[in-house]
């Protein structure tokens, strides 16, 4: 690990631009600090009480000067503002890329649970390949946490009750700190871990190797398969079977518009499906009796994410003649 330096390692696609922005701000800070300190110290010496310096015609007002030292810094500030806003939008806008590796993150006091689309689960460790965008879909099971990897210059608060996403691309292999940046109670300081960045081939090998020890079928499942298993175990199908009439079919649901009984029209994304499972009464689809029970307490956040992966993977036969299809990474 980098030690003793003044700058963290640059290990993601965002690191260089972030550091450049930082240097520019340091430049501005030095510039303005000198603009204040040099005259201040110069005056302290030159105009010390009793010195012989010329003090005739002191001034007390100067509109031009006032405008100059308000507007020029403001203009410089606005340039940095635009740049910063651009970088922010880039970092926090969800990726649409097909190629992105979708990793789910569940934060809880005081641990990070991560799962790969191919099913590998990790605690406080994350293995990822270089050269491929990584998208994190994150949620907390209890309080607010914050997923922070300094070497990647990424951070975002992980909230209870709502998904947030963040993406990056690792550019340099190695082992990097993972921290929780938002204070979350007793062991906040210990809610740390490591991110291992590997070459793509190595990552593939790691994926296989990490399933060698799997003893049960469940441990070999991909996320979508785990979701399907759950779907059957929980008997969601008893109502949601495409043939049944008293509940809507979930095939092809993901990304569709849904009209609710209170008049709202919402897109069926991750948050919508999560709410439908936990708080079905707050999200009633029009035309159906609200008979779905809540699964709060029965299904945890990790399992909801698996169900979502499964529902995402189930295509509607009417939409797609290839019918039901489970892609290995659940991000079709």
């Amino acid at each position: 690990m980098n030690s003793g330096g003044l700058m963290p390692e640059q290990a993601s696609n965002f690191a260089q631009e972030m550091d450049l922005l930082y240097y520019v701000l340091i430049g501005l800070t030095v510039f303005f600090a000198l603009l204040v300190f040099v005259p201040m110290l110069y005056f302290v010496v030159k105009y010390r009480a009793g010195s012989k310096a010329d003090r005739t015609r002191p001034t007390y007002h100067n509109l031009k000067l006032e405008l100059a030292w308000s507007l020029i810094p403001l203009a410089m500030g606005l340039v940095v503002f635009v740049w910063g806003a651009k970088l922010f939008v880039e970092m926090y806008t969800p990726l649409e890329s097909e190629n992105a590796l979708q990793i789910t993150v569940v934060g809880k006091q005081w641990m990070w649970h991560l799962q790969h689309p191919t099913g590998q689960r990790e605690n406080n460790e994350l293995h990822i390949p270089t050269g491929r965008p990584i998208q994190l879909t994150m949620i907390s099971q209890d309080v607010i946490h914050s997923f922070f990897v300094p070497a990647f210059r990424i951070k975002r608060d992980v909230l209870p009750g709502r998904y947030v996403t963040m993406w990056f691309e690792a550019t340099k292999t190695g082992r990097y700190h993972l921290y929780c940046a938002e204070y979350c109670g007793t062991d906040h300081a210990k809610m740390t871990g490591w991110v291992y960045v590997m070459k793509p081939e190595e990552y593939e090998r790691w994926l296989v190797a990490s399933k060698w020890g799997a003893v049960s079928d469940a441990a070999r499942d991909t996320m979508a398969e785990a979701g399907e298993r759950l779907y059957n175990d929980m008997q969601c199908n008893s109502c949601h079977d495409p043939a049944a009439q008293n509940a809507p079919s979930l095939a092809g649901l993901f990304g569709k518009e849904r009209r609710l009984s209170d008049g709202r029209v919402v897109t069926a994304g991750e948050d919508y499906i999560r709410r439908s499972i936990y708080k079905p009464n707050s999200m009633k689809v029009i035309g159906y009796e609200p008979i779905m029970p809540t699964y709060e307490g029965l299904i945890d956040e990790q399992e909801v994410l698996q169900l979502i992966a499964y529902i995402r993977s189930v295509r509607d036969e009417a939409d797609d003649l290839t019918g039901r299809e489970t892609t290995p990474e659940g991000d079709s």
Binding site: Y60, M91, P160, G161
Partner: protein, 544 residues
């Protein structure tokens, strides 16, 4: 110019010696002293917590304190120093003491309300101490939900009520000041002749009166959710945690200005007096206080860029944050311009003023790093933020408070402190401060998260530097407290106007009589009318 002197023995300190005469006093000067004593206790509590924190952070392992204890230590540090020291510091002590004197009034508009505010404040303070004694609070001064409402099992409700009471005290103070400044100025003291300290107090009071009710209600909502389990902030109960952050920062960003504006008012007085010159760009310095108060209310979202607030809201808050930095910059440039062609003396209050300018400049500029949305992603919730706001709140607010205390100490107590020790402590505080907090910028950018009692090894060197600096900072402060206390008994008696300063407070005797002025003064000139005749700035400490 009136020139009044009270007969000996009737100054406000010696008017009556009984405890009752202090505890039931309606004299704004005595209430200021009551406040000074109370907040000093909280400075001691909060300051010792800082030292414990810095001791723990000498090593990367969490070896001195258990994590829970550490979490309580930084919570006590933040809560006491923000709500029970910094917010009341200059307004309730220097403001209370000086506003009537500076505007030529007998007292504040509502003396009873003034006394009540101290009692309410002390009630809050007592509750705070109770919260501490019954086991402490571990939420941080920010009380973020749902941690505070659904997960922490410490004395959150007691602490919340403590802050609630302190808030009411500050509403009372603010209300009192606004009315006093509007209604009780001496004849001839127009708004454009007001000392800039008064302008700053006025702007601060407006923030106190408008902002504090919001935090008060928010804290009550915390208590309601925690005790009655009404879902307001906790998503598990159907609430929204981000709502809490909006409400909290709606007050707590302006609260930063409650802490810093009064200091800026002090600095204007000091720079003018020790440069023997009128303030350059008086109107700009005055109106910038109002601009800060107004704009300060619309930038709170810059604390929430990474917390799940909408991106477009973030952009608005970011651009407004750049805007709010301009009035502060205007003040700094005008202070420097004031020194141009002055007769500059480096007495201890002036050293504090120059220290303020240095540290506040750095604090303000590093604030821009955080206002830049992209950069904030990386530095948010790291030591970079910790360093930044200590530059503002210690380097700015506390240095201004110390500068003001040193400047008006002779007027308040009737005694002079040893100037040489004054200079020494000012220099120690400045050096110690930079030692403590400069390394934290670097640690923050390297990625050290805040509020952890253990940390990754590579941050140790920086933390040792920081802890070493804290010990210098602490010794500077302890020296100052020691000689100030010493001066109460052994200090040379101060004359009416030891700094040869302008302003009505220097025209009455020292210490001022209970009624402030024998005859209501009439003002015929602008503030800071330092003319050619007192250019030498010779110290005039005659008793008259």
């Amino acid at each position: 110019m009136s020139h009044t002197d009270a007969p000996k023995g009737t100054d406000y300190l010696h008017a009556d010696y009984s405890i009752k005469s202090w505890l039931l006093t309606l004299d704004h000067k005595r209430i200021a002293i009551l406040y000074l004593i109370t907040i000093s206790l909280f400075l001691a509590i909060g300051g010792s917590m800082a030292l414990i924190i810095r001791m723990e952070l000498l090593t990367p392992e969490g070896d001195l304190l258990m994590s829970d204890t550490y979490n309580k230590a930084f919570t006590v540090h933040g809560v006491t120093l923000i709500f029970f020291f910094l917010i009341p510091s200059i307004p309730a002590v220097l403001g209370n003491f000086l506003i009537p004197l500076m505007i030529g009034a007998r007292d504040v508009a509502f003396p009873r309300l003034n006394l009540l505010s101290w009692y309410v404040f002390t009630t809050g303070g007592t509750l705070g101490v109770i919260a501490l004694v019954v086991g402490g609070v571990d939420t941080g001064w920010t009380f973020y939900t749902p941690y505070s409402t659904s997960f922490s099992n410490t004395a959150v409700v007691t602490a919340v009520f403590a802050v609630f009471f302190a808030g009411f005290a500050s509403i009372m103070t603010g209300l009192n000041f606004i009315v006093t400044i509007h209604k009780m100025r001496a004849p001839g003291l127009t708004w454009s002749r007001l000392p800039l300290f008064i302008w700053a107090q006025y702007a601060t009071s407006v923030i106190m009166v408008l902002g504090t009710p919001v935090i008060a209600i928010t804290l009550l909502l915390i208590a309601a959710e925690k005790t009655l389990r009404i879902g307001i902030f906790d998503p598990a109960l159907g609430g929204d945690p981000i709502l809490f952050q909006h409400l909290f920062w709606f007050y707590s960003h302006p609260a930063v200005y409650i802490m810093i504006l009064p200091s800026m008012g002090v600095i204007s007085e000091l720079i003018a007096c020790f440069s023997r010159k009128r303030i350059f760009g008086y109107e700009f310095v005055a109106y910038s206080s109002i601009a800060i108060a107004v704009l300060g209310f619309v930038v709170w979202g810059h604390h929430m860029f990474v917390s799940g607030q909408s991106m477009y809201a973030g952009m608005v808050f970011s651009v407004l944050s750049f805007l709010v930095s301009i009035p502060s910059a205007v003040k700094i440039f005008n202070w420097i311009a004031t020194m141009h062609k002055g007769q500059i003396r480096l007495d201890s209050p002036m050293l504090y003023a120059l220290g303020f300018i240095g540290l506040f400049t750095i604090g303000g500029l590093t604030g821009l790093f955080l206002a830049v949305m992209g950069l904030d992603i990386h530095v948010h919730d790291t030591y970079f933020v910790v360093a930044h706001f200590h530059y503002i709140m210690v380097g700015g607010a506390i240095l201004g408070f110390f500068g003001g205390i040193h400047f008006w100490w002779p007027k308040i107590t009737g005694r002079l402190y040893p100037e040489i020790l004054g200079k020494l402590s000012a220099v120690l505080i400045f050096i110690g401060f930079n030692f403590t907090f400069l390394p934290q910028f670097i640690a923050g950018y390297l990625g050290m998260p805040r509020r952890t009692h253990s940390y990754s090894e590579e941050f140790q060197v920086l933390n040792v530097l920081s802890s070493a600096g804290a010990s210098i900072l602490a010794s500077g402060t302890i020296i100052a407290v020691a000689y100030l206390l010493w001066s109460l008994w052994y200090g040379e008696k101060a004359g009416r106007n030891p700094w040869n300063a302008k302003g009505l407070e220097w025209e009455t005797s020292t210490p001022p009589p209970t009624t402030n002025f024998e005859r209501t003064p009439t003002v015929t000139e602008e503030a800071y009318a330092y003319g050619p005749d007192d250019e030498s700035g010779e110290v005039n400490n005659e008793r008259d």
